[in-house]
Symmetry: C2
Subunit: 209 residues, 2 copies
């Protein structure tokens, strides 16, 4: 379809732009409320590098304000009636960040486990974040986004018993879909998995350069 | 836009079809994992009327099988790469249900708080279900779907403390968006709010006829 072709062309531009500025770009996808913003907040607090963020949502100010309060530059992208970011929105969002001064850019997509598969954004690494509270079938129900991701995070494991979710099944489902995907089980509330995530990002950066 | 006009025309057909068969149709919208299927399961177990279900999802068999195990007829609609149901999919899904034998049809939409606003399905009542585990900002972040709904459910209140969500704020946010919307706070795990929901449906049916 022409829309995807046009999108992928701009995604390529974004990718080259990041390379030109020597900025590593990570994009986060996940269902509504899976913990995307919480992970960004914890990440920017924990690392020394210069991080910029692009927060996409129906109304972006909620997440943008939360992230900005951690002292990092944020470009909010309000998508209006669209349920996903596309490369074109990202391209223009980048105009609001000073890429010269950044090491890493994180893009938080709109909560959605379906559309982002069709809309690449030009990042170097895609991370999918699901939470146990969505039900332990949420991985097997959404195979395409897992095939499309480099890293999978299963968050809120502190609540697994309360919702009756089997974390091991979720990890196995992800590996069934994409055998070489790295899976991190996480609880941002209890600080579990954050270091593992930071290491995974550092490894991805080292591998890329 | 022409797509919405065409969709709304078919939604009107669906609506008239339900009226012709004297079937009351409820459609459930909500984020991924908010509790839509769980509410359908509890509802069909609790009432005497003849209920048919249309379960929409990327891959519909997971929810369709779960609901079918409660002894009700289910038409599964696999949406493939679409992140929402539309009136055309519902129109053809209805061919799989025997409307002559049913009192109520429940349509479970794909997990999404954005697109369903633009795609009416032809139901008599729209119910939006959010859960406290998505964060207590999830209502204010998605005003349009609340404006578009007749009833709002805030589910999983048994987990409110564990995620630090303020249920009263969520209720107030819904009322701010749509002052006359009915809001039910629910825990399907602990059986809270189910009777209130059944009463709300019965009232909506009585008002309609
Ligand atoms: N118990 C628990 N709660 C968590 C954890 N991670 C995030 N939360 C809570 O989950 C809710 C949603 O987190 P967010 O970070 O806003 O999720 P998000 O994916 O950015 O949400 P959207 O941008 O609206 O799609 C908030 O109430 C968080 O405090 C966790 O590991 N455990
Ligand atoms: N603790 C708790 N868990 C709940 C409650 N309601 C549903 N759950 C759990 O939440 C998870 C998701 O529930 P589902 O009914 O599958 O949600 P859904 O909205 O149909 O999910 P999708 O169809 O995938 O969008 C399951 O593990 C349920 O057991 C509740 O009130 N409290
Ligand atoms: Mg967020
Ligand atoms: Mg469901
Ligand atoms: Zn979309
Ligand atoms: Zn959609």
């Amino acid at each position: 379809e022409n829309i995807m072709k046009a999108n992928n062309k701009i995604a390529e531009f974004n990718h080259k732009l990041f390379d030109g500025y020597n900025v590593f770009c990570i994009d986060f996808v996940g269902a509504i409320g899976s913990g995307k913003t919480s992970l960004i907040e914890k990440y920017v607090d924990a690392v020394d590098e210069k991080v910029g963020v692009m927060a996409g949502d129906l109304i972006s100010k909620y997440d943008a304000d939360r992230i900005e309060s951690h002292g990092v530059p944020v470009a909010g992208i309000s998508t209006g009636t669209e349920c996903h970011l596309d490369a074109h929105l990202v391209e223009h969002g980048l105009e609001e960040l000073d890429l010269d001064s950044l090491d890493t850019v994180i893009i938080e997509n709109v909560g959605n486990l379906i559309c982002p598969v069709d809309f690449q954004l030009g990042s170097h690494m895609r991370v999918v974040i699901v939470s146990v509270t969505e039900g332990d079938d949420t991985v097997e129900k959404h195979p395409y986004i897992f095939q499309d991701s480099d890293l999978a995070i299963i968050n809120k494991i502190d609540l697994a018993d309360a919702v009756g979710s089997d974390v091991d099944k979720m990890v196995a489902d992800a590996k069934k879909i994409k055998p070489d995907i790295q899976v991190i089980t996480m609880s941002l509330k209890e600080g579990i998995g954050l270091d593992e995530f930071i290491n995974a990002v550092n490894k991805a950066k080292a591998d890329y350069n």
